[in-house]
């Protein structure tokens, strides 16, 4: 417990630092926030236009599709909010700054992952939560059990995202390539903006079980709608655990091969 409190304090100090940096230019901060909100709004517009013509998407109603989209945004934004330091990791490796982090009396993985929140994403978290609430009130009767499962699967999705970010960091140590790898992850998750049922097999299976975008983005919403079987719920948590465990092993492997060549 003492250790968790210590790390929470470190995270808070780092977050204050990154927040001050983010607001050093208020103009830039405002533009970035407006940009993120515009992107959300424009895609929402696209969905509205699309469903106004087709009336449903993969047999999901308008509000159900909006619920999927809002859930996608929440799952997409949470890692960006908490794990923004991953995007700065390449510089830390090629400049030798990572050596300095290794000498610190805390986990280098913790610093690489949670080296400060991106406060500019907070507005998107609020918007996503707001739309989840609005769409959630239109999708029919929601039981407490389904709502609890929804929250648990969102946490599981965050852990899968965490695992992907650990893999990106590990690859960054081995190859110094981070920027495109993390954007590749972002591109892959974009597939989950729509209900996964719109994709045909074998792509749908691939997206659900091999690249678990379906588990991350679609399963929480499906659980809320009561459309997820017990087997798939269990499988989701197993996949989450295995990916996190596997990514940690890969991190340890990459750390053993860190050559400190750039410092």
């Amino acid at each position: 417990m003492k250790e968790i409190t210590r790390y929470a304090k470190i995270w808070w100090i780092l977050t204050i630092g990154t927040t001050q940096i983010a607001f050093a230019s208020r103009f830039g901060a405002a533009i970035f926030m407006i940009g993120k909100l515009l992107r959300f709004a424009f895609f929402l517009l696209f969905l509205v236009v699309l469903i106004s013509k087709t009336h449903s998407l993969a047999s999901y109603s308008f509000w159900q599709v909006i619920f999927f989209y809002a859930t996608f945004n929440l799952v997409d934004t949470l890692p960006q909010f908490f794990l923004r330091d991953v995007y700065r990791f390449r510089y830390q490796v090629v400049s030798g700054y990572f050596d300095y982090i290794l000498t610190k009396p805390f986990s280098p993985l913790f610093k690489a992952l949670f080296g400060g929140c991106d406060v500019l994403d907070f507005s998107m978290l609020l918007v996503s939560a707001g739309f989840i609430g609005i769409a959630g009130s239109h999708i029919g009767v929601v039981t407490i059990g389904n709502a609890a499962l929804y929250i648990l699967l969102i946490v599981n999705a965050f852990l899968i995202a965490l695992a992907f970010h650990v893999v990106v960091l590990s690859m960054g140590i081995l190859t110094t390539e981070v920027d495109n790898t993390i954007m590749l992850y972002r591109d892959m998750t974009q597939i989950g903006r729509f209900p996964i049922e719109i994709y045909k097999e074998p792509l749908r299976g691939l997206l659900t079980f091999i690249i678990p975008v379906g588990i991350m983005m679609a399963f929480p919403a499906k659980a809320m709608l009561g459309l997820l079987s017990v087997q798939l719920i269990i499988l989701s948590f197993v996949v989450g655990f295995l990916l996190l465990f596997g990514s940690y092993l890969f991190w340890q492997y990459s750390l053993r091969h860190y050559s400190s060549a750039s410092s």
Partner: protein
């Protein structure tokens, strides 16, 4: 012209130096294409039409937009703002070459690499997916497509240069570019054909330069614009191109008066 070709070749060699990064970049493009392709394939079964598009037209739209994007949107000018902020622009100014043509040469190098790779990707994807592709055979539409792609490429270059000039006044060059990228993503027609939007919205965006960057060349290729509409598009796109160029000249000259090579 030889010196500009050397600059373009330098960019191509630089791209191949960071091979993994470039391959990842191209792979991302393929992934983005597949998402769009399967989305429209799911929305539009074989014998139906949606928003006036048959499956063959919409899948051609998606395929062609990928190829055209490689030609029109590949750029190195995004680095201009940082070059000004760091004072590295001084290096370019000391060279016995035109600054605009130097940046254009960098873009040409980048475009050639992206075009070469996207043709390869396009061929492989075409063989694997075997889409019901619409091949335009009318020489008029083909010629008009080529001309609008050329105008779009130049217009995009000028807009990018203009955005880079923000570096003369502010260190915040990425934030306005972020907004521009989002607007470009949605209103150039890369994600969906713009004519699916409600008419007032479509009319509003038609007054901006965005549709002329991708949507109009694609519509012309598909043969969905009349002669009058094509002529009107040429006129508006050319007007935007000249207008942005003139604005760029004014902004660049004003910026040069402020430039102090700060950061060197």
């Amino acid at each position: 012209m030889k010196k500009y070709w050397i600059i373009a070749r330098g960019i191509m060699e630089e791209t191949m130096t960071y091979r993994l990064s470039f391959i990842m970049w191209r792979f991302r493009g393929v992934l983005q294409f597949l998402v769009l392709y399967y989305l429209w394939l799911a929305l539009l079964p074989g014998n139906q039409t949606l928003f006036g598009y048959s499956q063959s037209r919409i899948l051609t739209y998606v395929f062609a937009s990928t190829l055209m994007s490689a030609i029109i949107f590949s750029t190195r000018v995004a680095e201009l703002g940082e070059t000004i902020n760091k004072g590295d622009l001084s290096n370019d100014l000391l060279r016995p070459a035109n600054y605009l043509l130097m940046w254009a040469a960098r873009d040409v190098g980048d475009k050639l690499m992206n075009i070469m790779f996207s043709i390869g990707e396009f061929t492989i994807l075409f063989i694997i997916l075997r889409p019901p592709f619409f091949f335009q055979s009318n020489p008029f539409f083909l010629a008009a497509t080529v001309i609008t792609i050329a105008i779009a490429t130049i217009l995009f270059f000028f807009i990018n240069m203009l955005l880079g000039c923000i570096g003369f006044w502010s260190n915040e060059t990425w934030a306005p570019r972020f907004i521009f990228t989002i607007l470009l993503q949605f209103f150039s027609g890369g994600l969906f054909p713009l004519d699916i939007l409600p008419k007032p919205l479509f009319a509003f965006f038609s007054a901006t330069p965005f549709p002329y960057l991708l949507y109009i060349p694609l519509k012309i290729y598909l043969g969905q614009l009349s002669f009058f509409e094509i002529g009107k598009s040429f006129f508006i796109a050319s007007a935007w191109m000249i207008g942005v160029y003139l604005l760029l000249k004014i902004v660049w000259n004003k910026g040069m008066k402020l430039y102090t090579a700060q950061g060197r």
